[in-house]
Amino acid sequence: MEDLIGSFEKKDNVSLGKMLKEVENQTPLSLEILKLSSFRKGKAHIIGVTGPPGSGKSTLVGKMCKKLATMDLRIGVVCVDPTSPFTKGALLGDRIRMQELAKLPNVFIKSLATRGNLGGLASSTADIVQVLDAYEMDVILIETVGVGQIEFDVLGVADTVLLVSVPGLGDTLQTLKAGIMEIADIYVINQADRPGADESVKDLNLMVKESGKREWSPPIHKTVATQDSGIDELIHDITAHKKYLERSGLWKEKRQTRNVTRLYSMIESLLAQRVEDHINREESLKAKVQDVMKGERDPYTTSHEIVDRLIAKHNSYQYGG
């Protein structure tokens, strides 16, 4: 325990790596690490980078880090790979595109896989980000593939979300419009060295205009990540978005909302676990579940019965009944 507090103070990469390993493996110690870090978090600017596979997210994250590192900032990177939802194994290759960062002492990169549990990916990402935040990283970048529900959840911890696309993907974006409009704070057309970049920018511009006037109107950037082109401008707008969040009070609000969301999701999963244990302990309840399975009993009545019974039982413990 004291070792743990000590390593928060030391802030060296070796102890950070060890803590993150505990958290990633959800060891008993990880709960203590998370408890401690929850009071120390809240200062880092958390940036989500999402978009289709191959659009250049890792390359772009690498170049952004390189730039941020020259600004004397401490940077954490979390590469989240939701592509292997059903197997335990994973091949995580984002670091290959970030080789330039290997010699920078102020950049710390962590790769995360689903571990066969897609549903838990968002909370494990949030846990890792929290520890990095508590370790006083100034900026934390989260890279994740795609624009589906899982990414949406994973990016729930981000203050600023970049949607990375490539020229010619306009139609794809159109079909995903509703979700994307809500999630992206900055659009990036990467691989702008390929034909059709200007058209894509024009399309996106139209989409942003159509979505109506908002306090923060998402800017659109053209980049060529492989050639380091457009990165400075991008960072400039990321910083501008942070200032906007602070000015508008959203910076604080987002953090408070996130704290409560986390609390409720923890309550939910604890409850779900308790209910399951409860059912497994009582033969009569197991029989009811069997009946629902066969379609002989309706789930509406049964779910109420089970939950009411659990709560009644709990109350009788409470009041010594």
Partner: protein, 130 residues
């Protein structure tokens, strides 16, 4: 427990595909493999620290293995990383004892079956936890 492997090609062996092939096979064996591409010892150890690796896999076409391999072990020790270090690729038979003496846990030739690499890793990692 989920086993996490950091896999790197030692130094500048750019044309060597073995590392990627082995990485894919270890993934299919249920491990998480973080692939680094070409890296030098210091950076390989740093990546292992950041990723919380249980295993460092080094791939080499030969030539640099006697200097760079032991260097990984040495730096890992200095920095307090207790990952298993294994090596694979084209390595002369005579050098294997030298590598093992330097702290490389096992050396696998190009003909090694993936099952034996995977089972070696499993038994060593489980032993170090117990």
């Amino acid at each position: 427990m989920q086993i996490k492997v950091v896999m790197a090609k030692l130094g500048l062996d750019i044309h060597w595909r073995g590392a990627l092939v082995v990485s894919r096979m270890l993934r299919d064996e249920g491990m998480e493999v973080v692939y680094l591409g070409n890296q030098f010892p210091e950076q390989i150890v740093d990546a292992a620290i950041q990723e919380g690796a249980d295993v460092i896999g080094l791939s080499t076409l030969g030539g640099n293995h006697l200097t760079l391999g032991p260097k990984v072990v040495q730096i890992a020790k200095e920095k307090g990383v207790d990952a298993l270090v294994i090596m694979g690729g084209v390595i002369p038979e005579d050098d294997i004892p030298l590598l093992k003496e330097a702290g490389i846990s096992e050396v696998f030739g190009p003909e090694t079956r993936i099952e034996s690499i995977a089972s070696f890793i499993r038994s060593e990692v489980n032993q170090s936890i117990a």
